[in-house]
């Protein structure tokens, strides 16, 4: 049924945007981390999203529509996270000879995290989250209207 699909799709959008926000928070939290898991400076992480693969699902609704001779539209499945990749941008180099992780030349390798970029990402994912929540709300109220027909 169309409207339940809409709610599922908005849900997939909500969880994708939440993950983006989680990753952005991790980047911000580690903006000054010079010793990551591998002993090297932390590398900025980035979420890659992709459209969730559609494909015909053998559901009751699709069988019913086929039997009624109504050509249904291609099913949509929302969005999914393809990967969390590391940003290949070079590390920041800051002259700080007193730092315990400073090299021979006095420079410290700091993570390739730009706080301003992360803040922009944070706002973008937060707005997209709200938009998905609104889409879910709209589908829900449409469905409620249909139920009103029975009263």
């Amino acid at each position: 049924m169309g409207l339940f699909d809409a709610i599922d799709i908005a849900g997939s959008g909500l969880s994708a945007e939440r993950l983006r926000m989680d990753v952005t928070s991790e980047n911000l939290a580690n903006a000054q981390t010079t010793r990551g898991a591998d002993g090297q400076p932390y590398r900025r992480k980035e979420v890659v999203l992709q459209e969730a693969a559609g494909g015909a699902r053998a559901t009751f609704a699709s069988a019913l529509e086929g039997a009624m001779g109504r050509t249904g539209a291609a099913p949509s499945r929302g969005v999914q996270v393809a990967a969390i990749v590391q940003d290949s941008a070079p590390n920041r180099r800051v002259y700080d000879p007193g730092h315990p992780d400073a090299g021979q030349d006095g420079y410290v390798e700091l993570p390739n995290v730009n706080t301003v970029t992360e803040m922009v990402e944070l706002i973008s994912s937060s707005r997209a989250y709200e938009a998905n929540a609104t889409a879910m709300q709209t589908a829900k109220s449409m469905f409620t209207r249909t139920l009103d027909l029975l009263r």
Binding site: G13, A73, A74, R127
Partner: protein, 119 residues
């Protein structure tokens, strides 16, 4: 006159198409940050109005809901063609349209019910 005339069938087809359009809008909004995604649009009005004009009950009942990629939308630098303002406006319009369809259906059902004497 039949109990469920062409108008009733058209209302049903339009509600079906409108809910499919809400699914497409949800899909577009969910993929607003997906690189290379092209926005989807739903069309059923063209076929439905042709079937209504011909007063062909069967064609109205079998109105195809076409979901296709919108080729005319401008594409962002990351290959994505979703514009959040367009989707928000489309969602508002679509939701109101659905409410209108439900209201008309309800009024018509009420007429039939009062004719039956089931009030």
């Amino acid at each position: 006159m039949q109990l469920f005339d062409t108008t009733q069938l058209a209302l049903e087809a339009a509600m079906h198409g409108t809910s499919q359009r809400q699914t497409a809008i949800a899909q577009n909004i969910a993929n607003v940050n997906t690189p290379g995604y092209r926005r989807q649009e739903v069309d059923f009005e063209g076929q439905l109005s042709a079937a209504m004009a011909a007063d062909d009950r069967d064609a109205v009942r079998r109105t195809a809901i076409v979901q296709r990629t919108d080729a005319s939308a401008p594409v962002r630098i990351d290959g994505n063609s979703v514009d959040m303002d367009v989707e928000a406006a489309g969602q508002a319009r679509n939701g109101l349209m659905y409410q209108a369809l439900v209201a008309v259906t309800k009024a018509r059902t009420g007429i039939i019910q009062s004719a039956i004497g089931n009030r």
